[in-house]
């Protein structure tokens, strides 16, 4: 019932740290580079290098390791299923270590499964670290600036950023409204948390209809208010908050580049284990 309290905005951890102070563009680029790097790395040693780097970044960002582990929870089942599929139904051949009926587990497939699992964990950690240290508002700003050069190519940078801003602004408002409607329906005998799945799904209809109607009404009012405040799209628009790449940002990007280069290792080592 207490939707608002259980709903945390993104996963931002508001503490002071050198990583928090970095320009959001630096953190977005670093996360992208790490994601790409993780895919390119083909050795356990390379992944281990990135693990050390990410651990250092987590420490520098003053993020409790517990948070990082909790950040992995949503992907746990995906991870488990992906690894199980690889181990049980991977390529044939190799050295069998376990056999029951048609199922054959080979050493090669175990290693590959572990490797892919490790890789997914690193991907998730790299992106959650960005989310932990960058507020949603900063992320939006950073994304808008990074996409701006691609506007010529038809990327609606300003519109995307405005959509994110309005979403951030209105999610709490709509949650509050949901709670109000739920309470109103419950006062008239509606039941949201009991009964079969089908019954519970049907109980949501009288919740969703007023919520949607309300959201459209709000959208209409907001559009009018924005027009009254001279909004006319992204053309000629300026921003109060200016982003600034400082020396720390360039240093951070260089460190990320070096870490990825070391993890990739000499080109000769580019092969799957």
């Amino acid at each position: 019932m207490e939707l608002l309290r259980s709903f945390a905005f993104g996963q931002y951890v508001p503490v002071e740290s050198p990583v928090h102070r970095l320009d959001p563009r630096t953190k977005i680029l670093a996360a992208l580079a790490l994601v790409a790097g993780t895919f390119a790395i083909g050795t356990f040693a390379g992944l281990a290098v990135l693990t050390v780097f990410l651990a250092a970044a987590i420490a520098a960002g003053r993020i409790a390791p517990g948070y990082v582990v909790r950040g992995l929870r949503p992907v746990f089942w995906l991870l488990a299923i992906a690894v199980a599929l690889q181990v049980l139904f991977g390529e044939g051949g190799g050295h069998p270590v376990f056999r029951r009926g048609p199922l054959v587990v080979t050493r090669e497939n175990l290693l590959l499964g572990a490797f892919y699992g490790y890789r997914v964990v690193l991907l998730v950690v790299a992106t959650t670290l960005m989310m932990f240290t960058t507020s949603p508002v900063e992320l939006t700003d950073g994304m808008e600036r990074l996409l701006r050069p691609f506007r010529r190519a038809g990327v609606p940078a300003h519109e995307l950023a405005l959509m994110m801003t309005i979403a951030l602004r209105f999610i709490p408002t709509l949650l509050e409204e949901t709670e109000k409607i739920m309470k109103a329906q419950m006062a008239r005998g509606a039941e949201f948390s009991q009964g079969s799945l089908v019954r519970r799904a049907r109980a949501l209809v009288p919740l969703l209809v007023p919520l949607f109607v309300g959201a459209f009404r709000r959208a209409d009012a907001l559009a009018l208010a924005m027009e009254a405040r001279c909004y006319r799209g992204g053309e000629h628009r300026t921003r109060m908050r200016q982003l600034e790449m400082r020396r720390a940002d360039y240093v951070a990007l260089a460190v990320v580049a070096v870490a990825i280069a070391v993890a990739l290792g000499p080109p000769a080592a580019w092969h799957a284990p």
Binding site: P172, R218, M226, C230, M240
Partner: protein
């Protein structure tokens, strides 16, 4: 124009002749459908007249090239405080209008700081709007408009959804800006106590001006008001009843303060 293009087309406003000067506060009252909000939307070119003209600072609102000049000059605050704030942080929302005007960042920064100071919300600048009270949200909206340096502020039932404290906050802020900063203030309201604070009250009925004048004068005209189903502020009725029962009260009392002032010398006598 309602139902435009059909045989029973009805003009929403007819023969409304109204001037608002800098530093003046005009209250627009009238029942539902009297044309109050339609008139308000004409003031900043959200609607343009089908006949007749609306001029803001000498600019005709039908001049398509200058719509944005008109909207910069006439700031509008709407009824629902939740549906007019755009950004997820107070100061960014205040900056929204200035950003639309394409001002340089340093200028926006200075204007946002000044506007937040004027409405007394500097301490909440980094908060997300949903954690603010209704009155505070409306003051954020006022700050957003102020940062655009308007000449006129239009409050379109901006206190209707607020609790009494929020109403007082918003009215105090708006009147202070009108009196001290020389903004023209147009109050569209259902609350007669608010209308009583204006310099001039304009009563609309069926798209026409039914009554106009200083609040004391308008609210003393009991019969036309009753016909328009408008109740004068309760204090005015109380003062009239007291005067009818023999107390020597001057006519035109509209606020608690005025009544207290008129009554206190009487209390001293036996």
């Amino acid at each position: 124009m309602y139902r435009a293009g059909t045989p029973d087309a009805v003009p929403a406003l007819r023969g409304v002749d109204l001037d608002v000067s800098p530093g003046e506060c005009v209250a627009l009252i009238g029942g539902n459908g009297s044309g109050k909000s339609t008139l308000a939307k004409h003031l900043n070119a959200l609607l343009t007249p089908t006949s007749g003209a609306v001029r803001v600072d000498g600019i005709d609102t039908r001049d398509a090239d200058r719509v944005w000049d008109v909207r910069q000059r006439v700031g509008m605050i709407f009824e629902n405080p939740d549906d007019q704030l755009v950004a997820a942080i107070v100061e960014e929302d205040v900056a929204f209008g200035c950003e639309n005007l394409g001002l340089p960042p340093a200028e926006i920064r200075a204007r946002v700081d000044a506007a937040l100071r004027l409405v007394g919300l500097e301490h909440l600048r980094r908060r997300p709007p949903h954690l603010l009270s209704g009155g505070q949200k409306q003051r954020v909206a006022i700050a957003g408009v102020l940062a655009m340096r308007p000449r006129c502020l239009v409050l379109d039932e901006a206190t209707a959804m607020l609790d009494p404290r929020g109403q007082a906050e918003v009215m105090e802020t708006a009147l202070r800006l009108c009196r001290h900063e020389g903004l023209a203030l147009v109050l569209i309201t259902h609350a007669m106590e608010e209308a009583a604070l204006a310099d001039r009250v304009v009563v609309l009925a069926d798209g026409r001006v039914a009554l106009a004048g200083p609040p004391a004068e308008v609210f003393s005209r009991a019969e036309p008001l009753a016909r328009l189903r408008i109740e004068p502020p309760p204090i005015a009725r109380l003062a009239r009843l007291l005067a009818a029962s023999g107390l020597p009260l001057p006519p035109g009392i509209l606020t608690v303060e005025q009544l207290v002032e008129a009554l206190s010398p009487l209390g001293a006598a036996p």
